[in-house]
Structures are given as structure tokens and as C-alpha cells.
């Protein structure tokens, strides 16, 4: 990083006063998290907050969890690159979540069964082996998906505060934030998580509403829309145009991923449904949260668009760093870093501290829930069934705590080591697909088709492993293995297609085809295998279609 770049990016309004706001906020979060640990007595308390969530608190905790800093960052990146065309994801998320809330699709029956995790549902519907395999697939996809959270979140802090990104700053910020989240999540479990989520919701919502208003005031409402029209043309508005980087197949993928998966299949979202005080509350919770699902995409996208407008028209020094004029020159900064640098420039002292606290709130509320969710799945759905459910409640809670630390250390390592170059949203969609493609088919067939069998379930789960083909390091390994190189180099599928004249192919479109193809294949295999290899005996606890009363789980 040259001195000039350090100087350009170091120009931020972030002051000691703002650091004070951030530190006070973090201290309050920690104290609350530690105070409520006395309420944890069993696994239901630790993993599902005693199943006592009412509607408003449910909305707060869903919003806090699903509006993470990584979500804000990758949506801002999307807005910076694609303009208002990226808003289609927000609209889809809102409409699909609302429909899920009104109909109770998946979530109502899962809550009625009183399972603690989705693999526990697999176990009750398809038997213990499917439960363990499903737990492994969920953990693999989920933990891989979470791998870049820490790094991307820390990039925001580094960008907005003007710290140098190379060197000590990023690892130190990553380690500090992780340590903080680990402490209160380990001790308080889901009770800590939902209460800190509430506080994080308050700070986050007020912060982004205030920040958005100020950004519009600074840039001008009409100027934002007009500048995107001038610089990006119709591609900046129309997502059905393949030149926007999206296209119809991408929109269909988003109906599946940002819509159905985001609210009704993704384990951390479903965990809120399972923690609700009744199945009826779940439906209300999701209907109201549909607006949050839209905002979590739309507002960060809008901030990314504003960063684009600011950099391209008002900050010539930054424009040179993000889009250098010289032909063939490589940008020093990526679209991911545009939004924090932009906010650091335009927000005044005090407000930038509040907004940073809000973003850290977003960071923490996501990490705590994810860490708890994956570790609980390993304990409940992999280790406990393999130990033939002989583990006591104390042993389960202890193991879950250990696993929270182990997963935390993994994401610290992965955040520093991963070298993939795809857009973050793409990485998330693909890595999460290892879990959600199989989960979608198992939930759909398991809840709504009586003839679905355990063989079909295994086939569908294994099919979702094909989603790893969406990751750039894997694509390069595949093209190298089959000798599909370009200029002697291993390349991604996108680059390979472009080298063969398919110029409108983008990485997003490759991922969309891959995901939709895998989901279709998994569905076909579930149907065919279930018909060819029906379960010979009824699985104990199967009564899903009518919503049986109590999950086993091995603990209360």
C-alpha cells in the first residue's frame, strides 16, 4: 500500500469521541450478556431460550441475526457494482418472507413438532443416520459459509476508522471482536443472544435510518438516481437485463435463496421459529419480519450506490483508487471497501460513532447466533446421536461451549487464509448451498409427502455437495484437472465461458445455474429413490404431516 493510498483512505471523520461511543456500547452488550447466564439450566434454555419468544422480540432477534455486518457489506458491494438493479433481491426477500409468514410454509409444522434443530427433524422423519448426515452437511456448509464473516466485518471497521488494512490492524480487529462475541455467547447461550439481539436491533435500526437520511441529505435524492442513470444506463436499474450481471435465472435463484432459504430453511432463521412461544407466534413473527428482510438488503445496497455516486462524482482521489483511468491498471481498492470509506468521509463526528456501533451490533448479533447454531447442531445432531443419547444436559452444554470456541478459531483462520476472488454474496450463496439445497428437498418432501424415504433423503443430501463447484478455488482445480485452461492458466467457469465467446456469462449466473440445477437434481433423486427404495418400517416419531407434539432431542 503506497503512502498516497494510506493518506487517501486515512481521511476519515472517525474521532476519539466515536471510539468512546463504540467502547461504551460494547461494554453494555457484554454486561447484559453475562448477567442473563444465570437463567441457563438446560439445553432448551441454552439453544432455544426456553421457547419463550413473543412476536416483537422475535422480530428484533430475526432482524439482528439476519442483518449482519457481512450482509450489509456484501449488499453494499452489490449496490456499488450493479446499482438499483440489485434492489430486486430486497423485493423478492420481502414478498417471499411475507408469504411464508402468512402460510406458515415449513416453519409452522417445524415449530409444532417442537424440534430444536433441523437435523433433529430429519431424525424424526427419516431416522438417526439421516440426522447425523444432515448434521454433518449443515455444519460443513454453514461453517464454510460463515468463514468470511469475520474478515468482511473487520474490513468495515478498518475502512470506516481509517486504519491501515495491511499489517496489524485487520488481524487485531478480527481477534478482538471475536473474543467479545465468544465470551457472552458461551456463557449465556440463546438467552444472551436474544437479549443482546434486541439491544443490537435498537442501535442498528436507529443507526441505519439516521445514516440513510444523512446520506440522502448530503448527496441529494434526485442526484443519486440521475447519476446512476447517467453512468450505468438501464443496466443500473433493470435486473432482467443480463448486462446488469443478473438476468432471469439469477432472479429465480434469488426467489429460492434470498426468499425461501433466507427465511424458512436457513438454520439461524429457523432457530427463531423454533424458539417462539407458539406456532401462531411464528407466523406473525415472520410476516412482520418480511420488512426487515427487505431492509437488510435494500438499505446497504442504497449505501453502496451512494458510495458509487460519491466516488465517481465528488471524490476524484478515491475515484483513481477504485476505478483507475489508465487502461489495464488494477484498482487498489475493491467495491467491498467503498461503502465504509464513503461513510468515513461524509458522516460527522458522533454520528459516525453511532453508525459504527450499529454495524458492530450487526456483526455481533450475527456471529453469536451462528456460532450457537452450528455448535448446537454438532452437539445435538452428530455427537449425541453417535453417543446413543447417553450425554447428560451438562455434558451437552459443555460440549456446545467448547465447539463455539473451536468454530470461532476456525473463522479467524479462514478469514486470514481464504484466497477466492468471487463477490461475497456469491461465496455465501454457493457455500450455503451445500446445506440448503439438500435441506430444501428434505423439508419439502419430509413435511408434505408421506412416501419420502430415508434413501431419497440421503441421495438429496449428498447431491448438495456439488455446490462446492461454485467456489473459485474449486472451479480452478476442476478446469486444471480436465485441461480446460486459458493461456495455460487454470481459470474459473466464468472466464472459461468468456474465452469461448459467451460474453454475457457472469459468475453470478454460473452460481445460479449450478444451484437451480442441484436443487432440481436433488428433488428428482428424492422422488426416484423414495419410490424405488421405500422405508420398510415406520421411523419412530414419524408423524410429521399432522405435527407431532414433542421433539426428542435427548434433552428438554
Amino acid at each position: 500500500m503506497g503512502l498516497n493510498l494510506v493518506g487517501v483512505l486515512g481521511r476519515t471523520n472517525f474521532s476519539a469521541f466515536d471510539w468512546g461511543i463504540v467502547v461504551v456500547y460494547l461494554a453494555i452488550s457484554l454486561v447484559i450478556g453475562l448477567t442473563v447466564r444465570k437463567y441457563v439450566k438446560n439445553m432448551t434454555d441454552y439453544v432455544a431460550a426456553g421457547r419463550g419468544l413473543c412476536t416483537a422480540l422475535g422480530v428484533a432477534t430475526i432482524t439482528g441475526t439476519e442483518m449482519g455486518l457481512v450482509t450489509i457489506m456484501y449488499n453494499a458491494e452489490m449496490g456499488f457494482k450493479a446499482g438499483f438493479a440489485a434492489f430486486h433481491i430486497a423485493l423478492i426477500a420481502c414478498v417471499v418472507t411475507f408469504i411464508v409468514g402468512v402460510t406458515g410454509f415449513f416453519i409452522y409444522k417445524l415449530r409444532a413438532m417442537k424440534v430444536l434443530t433441523i437435523p433433529e427433524f430429519y431424525g424424526r422423519r427419516f431416522g438417526p443416520k439421516v440426522r447425523v448426515l444432515g448434521g454433518i452437511m449443515l455444519t460443513f456448509g454453514g461453517v464454510l459459509n460463515m468463514g468470511l464473516f469475520l474478515r468482511v466485518g473487520s474490513q468495515f471497521i478498518v475502512g470506516v476508522t481509517g486504519m491501515p488494512e495491511q499489517g496489524w490492524a485487520l488481524p487485531v480487529v478480527m481477534s478482538s471482536l471475536l473474543a467479545l462475541v465468544l465470551v457472552y455467547t458461551i456463557l449465556g447461550g440463546m438467552i444472551s443472544v436474544v437479549i443482546t439481539d434486541y439491544m443490537q436491533f435498537v442501535v442498528l435500526s436507529l443507526g441505519i435510518l439516521l445514516g440513510t437520511g444523512l446520506v440522502i441529505h448530503h448527496l441529494g435524492w434526485n442526484n443519486i438516481f440521475q447519476t446512476v442513470a447517467n453512468l450505468k444506463g438501464s443496466e443500473g436499474y433493470n435486473p432482467t437485463n443480463p448486462a446488469s450481471g443478473f438476468g432471469v435465472e439469477y432472479i429465480l435463484w434469488q426467489v429460492f435463496v434470498a426468499g425461501l432459504v433466507g427465511c424458512a430453511i436457513w438454520p439461524t432463521a429457523v432457530a427463531r421459529a423454533l424458539a417462539a412461544d407458539s406456532p401462531r407466534t411464528v407466523k406473525k413473527q415472520f410476516a412482520w419480519a418480511s420488512v426487515s428482510y427487505m431492509i437488510r438488503v435494500m438499505v446497504p445496497c442504497f449505501l453502496g450506490i451512494c458510495a458509487f455516486v460519491f466516488i465517481m462524482t465528488m471524490a476524484p482521489d478515491l475515484k483513481e483508487q477504485f476505478t483507475p483511468a489508465a487502461e489495464g491498471a488494477k484498482a487498489d481498492k475493491t467495491a467491498l471497501e467503498a461503502m465504509p470509506v464513503f461513510l468515513g468521509r461524509i458522516l460527522p463526528i458522533g454520528l459516525i460513532g453511532v453508525l459504527t456501533a450499529a454495524m458492530i451490533a450487526a456483526f455481533m448479533s450475527t456471529h453469536d447466533s451462528y456460532l450457537l447454531c452450528w455448535s448446537a447442531v454438532i452437539t445435538q445432531d452428530i455427537v449425541a446421536p453417535l453417543a446413543r443419547n447417553r450425554m447428560s444436559t451438562k455434558a451437552r452444554i459443555r460440549l456446545t461451549r467448547v465447539l463455539i470456541v473451536v468454530i470461532g478459531l476456525y473463522i479467524l483462520y479462514w478469514g486470514l487464509a481464504y484466497t477466492g476472488s468471487e463477490a461475497i454474496w456469491n461465496y455465501m450463496g454457493v457455500s450455503g448451498g451445500i446445506y440448503y439445497v439438500g435441506a430444501f428437498v428434505l423439508l419439502l418432501a419430509g413435511l408434505y409427502w408421506r412416501r419420502a424415504s430415508s434413501t431419497g433423503a440421503v441421495a438429496a443430501l449428498l447431491t448438495s455437495c456439488l455446490m462446492v463447484l461454485g467456489l473459485t478455488p474449486v472451479q480452478k482445480a476442476v478446469t486444471a484437472l480436465f485441461g480446460w485452461t486459458v493461456n495455460g492458466k487454470a481459470v474459473t467457469f466464468e472466464a472459461l465461458a468468456k474465452a469461448h465467446g459467451y460474453t454475457t456469462i457472469s459468475n453470478q449466473r454460473v452460481s445460479a445455474w449450478l444451484c437451480l440445477g442441484c436443487a432440481a437434481l436433488a428433488t428428482v433423486l428424492m422422488v426416484v429413490c423414495s419410490l424405488l427404495f421405500p422405508d420398510k418400517k415406520k421411523i419412530p416419531g414419524d408423524g410429521v404431516a399432522s405435527g407431532t407434539p414433542e421433539g426428542e432431542g435427548g434433552a428438554k
Partner: protein, 56 residues
Amino acid sequence: MSGWMLLWKIVFVVGVVVFAGITVWVIVAGFRDIKRLLQSIKKSHEEEVQTPTEEG
């Protein structure tokens, strides 16, 4: 393009206004829910002490 521009303007304004309303409701009602949550957990623990169950 003007049709898309108008659509995204309406979606943004309506979304932000509704979210602001929900934020106020969640702040007020969510605080009440936290008190209920802690009371219900406490109550269920007291009931467990009276009728202990085997776990694990």
C-alpha cells in the same frame, strides 16, 4: 428505464417508512417481551424443581 426508476423509488420509500414504524413498535413491545421471557424461564425452572425430570 424510467419505469424501473419509479418502481425502485417507491419500493425504497415505502420500505424505509414501514421499517421505521416497525422499529418503534419493536423497541416498545420487545422490552415487554424480554421481561415476559425471563419470567417464563424462571417459572419453568421453579416448576421443574417441584417435579424433577430426567434429562439426557
